[in-house]
């Protein structure tokens, strides 16, 4: 009887870990020992109520030892630095002002985990509902569903897409899609990626983090 129960549990658990491993493998291939990550992004917010989407562009910079910079360049300019000291904002009115931005912190935590190829926190907060490689073996995607009711109120689904090179090596995340319970959709597409793995980036790239 005990063996039967164990086998049943095994069949339930195995696929979840198999799915999880694809995502982890892709993230590991792309970001294992990443020392610096920089990319341009285009964010597109589609709110059902609005006739046109809200599009913004900017740059994201990440260094595990220094934190993260989320800089929106258009249509407004605002730079947000997130590090162990907190969240600091610079815009046309104020410079490096510490702010309490829960949503920015949550996004930075998730991005930090993805770019650090760690899923400890995400595993506790999200359930991996689907993960697969595309037929042409050049894309992969994973869908994550929040576990807690509280997060579910704000976010119904988190969809992550990534690229693979011709040799099948993971190239990292190319697109993140967030869907809220009312099906308002936010997509963030990354391009022009600059990455330093295993070696320290040039000092001028880290200057912005100071």
């Amino acid at each position: 009887m005990k063996i039967k129960v164990f086998c049943l549990l095994l069949t339930m658990v195995l696929p979840l870990h198999a799915e999880d491993s694809i995502l982890v493998e892709q993230l590991h291939q792309a970001y294992d020992q990443v020392q610096y990550f920089e990319a341009e992004f285009v964010q597109n917010k589609q709110v059902k109520f609005l006739s046109k989407p809200l599009v913004s562009t900017g740059v994201i910079k990440y260094a595990p030892t220094h934190g993260m910079i989320w800089e929106v360049v258009k249509p407004i300019w605002v730079k947000t630095k997130i590090n162990n000291e907190g969240i600091f904002k610079t815009n046309s009115f104020e410079q490096n002002v510490k702010v309490n931005d829960v949503q920015m912190q949550a996004v930075a935590d998730i991005l930090g985990e993805l770019l650090g190829a760690r899923l400890d926190r995400m595993r506790s907060q999200f359930e991996l509902s689907a993960s697969q490689l595309s037929d042409d073996q050049l894309h992969w995607e994973a869908t994550l569903i929040p576990r807690s009711k509280l997060i579910k109120k704000a976010l119904a689904q988190l969809h992550i897409e990534g690229l693979l090179d011709e040799a099948g090596q993971g190239q990292g995340i190319s697109k993140i899609t967030l869907v809220d319970p009312n099906e308002n959709i936010t997509t963030i597409v990354f391009s022009e990626v600059v990455m330093f793995n295993e070696q320290s980036p040039p000092a001028e790239l880290l200057h912005d983090f100071q």
Partner: protein
């Protein structure tokens, strides 16, 4: 003699009966340790701080830690749910109360334009406010946050969203509530994650039953969680109080029983009969009962500390009993008739001098000391009356002579070499000044109220671990604000917050969230002006939205603060109404200064109390000096010459000072209670020197003194083994002081030789 008259004895028994009946019927013992602390001058301040401290003391923080936070949540939640339905607990919170948040939103949202977050409210006073606010709105539009129709239609400038988010700033702990639970996650490192629970007790943390029940629950939870690899830590007043109670019980049972057995053995051996023991114990017990009755009658209640300290008069009053029994024994040995009348001058001079010292406590105006004074004086008088009225009446049996070895030992002590050195008052005075000079150089009084007690190192370590995990600093300074209306209270608080801000203190108050009506109107007008401004119109045009319809200002009713969910949210700040005044607290970390104002004051409870203790220590020292002068004057005028009186008073005083010097050298705690120890040594020591001076047979008195001194040293001196710093120091001083007095008191007999010659 009046004491041997039947009517007087009956009258005395009636007084004992009445006061005893009053004590038993009306006895109210105050056990709250906070009532022991000196009070603020203002009754309102005392009452409001009483509310605040009682609330804090009912709080218990639990922290469960494990490597896997999934197991942690599941098992800790299970354990917490298991105790949640107990009447012992008013509230157990371990996750975000979504109902509370919804309730908060429901009552505030209809007046959303009346509220601005603290940061937005600061902007309102600046130039280019509209543009700045619209820039912030665009940052939200194009930032990382999700957008919805409801958000854009009801709060298009995101000001209300920022305002609601700012409620998180009220909590000064580094908690992660993203999953609803109160977590401190450390997934990036090898450190364990923590889950926190905040427990509120339904009633006082100082009730032993509550302490035992909470402690038992914690032990049980700790055991259950440990089986799952989860570690549980806790901290709260109830845990410290439980530990202190257990320590006290242990010390009382070991030290108390040990000293009692030694005393019983000593008396039985000395008098070779149990009747002196039984009569002495009865006389003291009745004396304590009378003291209790009178103290309760005068003060309405007695604090447990006054009761315990007052009970130490047993050590003083036993002198009267021993004096009686030893004299009776020697008379028996000499086959002479015994008459208590011969003892009266010594007994009454001894009592008078001790009473004078105790009455000095009244001058400190510290309620607990006043209770000790009344208790001690009435108790001593009652025991004295029992000895002189009842002993000769009840005890008719033949008294056996004292054992020879005891007599020889008394002789030895009388002729000890130390007392020879102190036969000259000049030497005593010189030694006293030397000891005082050394004390001045090496003694470091410690009036910090936090150091008076012994806190369990384990509990302290647990508290520190929880504080470290939460990055939660203890707050020891508050601004107490009060006013006769809620509106006035919030206005005053806003005024104080502005003053604090000008001193670089960054703290949010209740008025930052629920501002006075005048501020609500200003917020509303600023929002309306922004929406209707050209820049505002352009913002809505960009979004493709219509400009919201203007609405009329309606104030948010301030009385809603006093009911949930706002009252729950501001539970640690708002103190309710006391003496028709609304009160609130502003916690402040940094040092601040505020002008004198009838509506607010800085409260540093630990510092204020320590300062009051320091003040009482100084007052007690002056009382001690005054008592010495009055004794000197009284004895010089009415009984002895000046030099002899000086010698009489300085010998026991030197005992006290030497004891304090030894305590200082030993690194023991020196405080107000050390001065009280000197007063006690002076009181008891005066009995000894007066008895010796008045006695015709010094050996007899020395034997009584040895018995009394030994019992005193056993009763008090064993306190030196206590873990509580103040008791340890007190016991050590009284023990050392009384041994010193016993050894040096015979020096006073030199006056007899001088008179004879």
């Amino acid at each position: 003699m009046i004491f041997s008259k039947l009517w007087f004895r009956v009258l005395w028994l009636v007084i004992i009966g009445l006061t005893g009946f009053h004590a038993i019927k009306q006895l109210q013992v105050e056990t709250n340790i906070l009532k022991l602390l000196p009070q603020y001058e203002s009754e309102l301040t005392n009452e409001l701080m009483g509310v605040a401290t009682e609330r804090v003391n009912k709080q218990l923080v639990l922290m469960a830690s494990a490597k896997s936070d999934t197991d942690l949540k599941e098992h800790f939640k299970y354990q917490l749910d298991a105790i949640d339905n107990k009447v012992l607990y008013e509230n157990i919170i371990y996750q975000i109360d979504t109902n509370q948040m919804s309730g908060l939103y429901a009552i505030l949202a209809p007046r959303r334009f009346n509220f601005l977050s603290h940061d937005d409210a600061i902007l309102r006073h600046q130039k280019g406010y509209h543009e700045h606010l619209l820039t912030l709105a665009r940052e939200s539009l194009y930032g990382v946050q999700m957008l919805s129709q409801e958000q854009l239609t009801t709060d298009p400038l995101f000001t209300f969203q920022r305002f609601m988010s700012s409620f998180g700033s009220l909590n000064q702990m580094a908690l992660d509530v993203s999953e609803g639970y109160f977590m401190v996650e450390q997934s990036a490192t090898e450190q364990p994650s923590h889950m926190l629970a905040f427990v509120e007790l339904a009633s006082s943390a100082f009730l032993p039953d509550n302490q035992n029940a909470v402690h038992s629950d914690i032990i049980n939870m700790r055991k259950q969680l440990a089986e799952q690899g989860i570690e549980l830590k806790s901290f709260g007043a109830v845990m410290y109080a439980h530990q202190a109670f257990q320590d006290a019980k242990k010390e009382i049972s070991t030290v108390g029983v040990g000293s009692l057995l030694a005393i019983v053995a000593l008396i039985t051996l000395a008098f070779r009969s149990v009747s002196p023991l039984l009569l002495s114990l009865s006389a003291i017990a009745l004396g304590l009962l009378v003291a209790l009755g009178v103290t309760v009658w005068v003060f309405g209640a007695i604090h447990v500390f006054a009761l315990v300290f007052g009970a130490t008069i047993a050590g003083v009053s036993i002198d009267y009993c021993f004096h009686y029994w030893v004299d009776a024994h020697f008379r028996a040995a000499e086959q002479k008739p015994f008459n208590v009348t011969q003892l009266l001058p010594a007994l009454f001079i001894g009592f008078g001098s001790s009473a004078l010292v105790y009455l000095g406590f009244l001058l400190t105006q510290y309620n607990v000391l006043a209770q000790i004074a009344v208790f001690s004086v009435t108790g001593l008088l009652a025991v004295l009356m029992n000895v002189v009225c009842l002993f000769p009446w009840i005890h008719k049996a033949t008294v056996k002579p004292a054992p020879k070895p005891l007599e020889r030992f008394s002789e030895l002590v009388i002729n000890n070499p130390i007392q020879r050195l102190l036969r000259s008052p000049g030497w005593v005075l010189g030694l006293l000044f030397t000891a005082m000079g050394c004390l001045y150089l090496i003694a470091q009084p410690n009036d910090d109220v936090r150091d008076l007690q012994h806190l369990s190192p384990t509990l302290k370590a647990e508290e520190q671990a929880i504080r470290n995990a939460l990055d939660w600093q203890p707050i020891e300074q508050y601004v107490l604000v009060h006013d006769d209306s809620m509106s006035g209270l919030l206005q005053t608080e806003a005024k104080v917050l502005k003053m604090l801000e000008s001193q670089g203190v960054d703290v949010l108050g209740v008025s930052d969230f629920i501002p006075p009506v005048e501020t609500q109107l200003l917020n509303f007008q600023a929002m309306k002006a922004t929406l209707e401004s050209a820049a505002g119109q352009q913002y809505f045009q960009e979004l493709g939205m219509a400009v919201p319809e203007p609405v009329d200002f309606k104030p948010f009713a301030l009385n809603q603060i006093t009911s949930p969910p706002l009252s729950t949210l501001f539970n640690q700040r708002l103190l309710g109404t006391v003496l028709d005044q609304y009160g609130l607290l502003i916690p402040v970390q940094q040092p601040i200064s505020l002008p004198d104002d009838p509506h607010f004051s800085i409260i540093q409870q630990a510092e204020d109390t320590s300062a009051l203790f320091a003040q009482f220590r100084m007052t007690a020292t002056w009382v001690l000096s005054g008592a010495v002068l009055v004794l000197l004057l009284g004895l010089s005028l009415f009984k002895y010459g000046f030099i002899q009186s000086l010698h009489l008073v300085l010998l026991p005083l030197l005992g006290g000072v030497v004891a304090m010097l030894f305590a200082a050298v030993a690194g023991l705690h020196l405080s107000l209670f050390s001065v009280l120890a000197v007063l006690l040594i002076l009181g008891m020591g005066l009995d000894y020197v007066v008895f010796l001076t008045e006695s015709q047979r010094p050996q007899t008195i020395m034997m009584a003194m040895l018995l009394a001194g030994t019992t005193t040293v056993l009763a008090f001196g064993l306190l030196a083994l206590s873990h509580v710093p103040v008791l340890k120091s007190f016991g050590f001083m009284v023990g050392v002081g009384m041994v010193w007095v016993l050894m040096t008191a015979p020096a006073i007999l030199d006056w007899r030789n001088r008179d004879d010659s």
